[in-house]
Amino acid sequence: MALKDLPVDECLLQGNASCPGCPATIGLRLVLKALGKKTIMVVPACCTAVIESLYPYTSFDVPVMNIAFEAAAAGASGVEAALRQQGRTDITVVAWAGDGGTYDIGLQALSGALERGTNFIYICYNNQIYSNTGIQRSGATPFAAWTTTTVGGKTEFRKELGEIILAHHIPYAAQTCISYPEDLYNKIKKAMSIKGSKYVEILAPCPPGWRFSMDKTLEMGRLAVDTGAWSLWECENDVMTFNGKSKLLLEKKIERKPIEEWIKYQGRFSHLFKPELDEKRLQAIQEHIDHLWERYRKCYVKI
């Protein structure tokens, strides 16, 4: 799949309310290119509820149901059940939620829907913060990152939601990033082709939230992968495959870049560099990522 093979049609309309350089809209365009018009989206409280724009207009050209913050997966379960009764199995039901609505407040409903094998795709666009409420910490916020509720930097490491999802043994789970459009598109297409619960998480670097220049949205995603802060993988029927650069990193065919190469561009980590270098915390972040990849290798490298 090359870029020229991606469909021209857009289901996210121009002139919406997203910030300039918004990763969610880049992701939404790609996701909707893959899904097409036969899609119903369920959206909990998150930036996308704003991106939809103001009543009585919407920037979405597919049906969208907004639902309460913790309720995306449950709402989608209801939509899916109704469509099945109506014989409309040609329609793809998608929950599209942020990391706050997925890692934190919506985790129970998500776990329930996955356990029930609900036939839908749950997509988490992860910008590692509560961005819609103005940049507060979430369970996805990395260690030491500034947010408005972790003013000196977060004191805990983020949770590995991917591994929690894998424990549900659903037929398809994947991690991708907006910076890899073909990877993202292909993963949504694959999810569409599989019956049952599918989970796709998209890393979505947020310029105002992470404090970087708005033209660097995609670059921040690529650096997250290069440094191992994020990884591209898919797990189909419990068979794990790392993709693209993450595969090369896992197999040690390329060198992982030091984490500083990613965080030095982000204002949310600036307190680690000035007024003086915070070597202790920088080292802690690097060790955490090293440890994570050691574990990945133990679990997923075939000998």
Partner: protein, 91 residues
């Protein structure tokens, strides 16, 4: 488009639901078509779907809605797009 009678918060699709968001722009992307290699990276990267793709994969910028983020210029490998400051309105 069918309008529903029941009064609840139901919204209908509209291009430019928030108006012409091109007015938000401070810097504008300027495309040099001679340099463009039709790789489509700008097209797929635009958060606003404001880079139009033609049948021959050439591209053009829709200034009505482009918010001027500069991702297209940053992603262009051949520097066919550069960002230029918008002329101040009213001058």
């Amino acid at each position: 488009m069918k309008k529903y009678i029941v009064e609840t918060s139901l919204s209908y699709p509209k291009k430019g639901a928030m108006g012409k968001t091109g007015s938000w722009r401070v810097f504008k992307p300027v495309l040099d078509t001679k340099k463009c290699v039709k790789c489509l990276r700008c097209w797929i990267s635009c958060p606003e779907a404001s880079i139009h793709r033609e049948k021959d994969n050439s591209v053009s910028i829709d200034y009505d809605f482009c918010k001027g983020c500069g991702i297209c210029a940053n992603e262009c490998n051949v520097k066919a797009i550069v960002m230029e400051r918008e002329k101040t309105k009213g001058k």
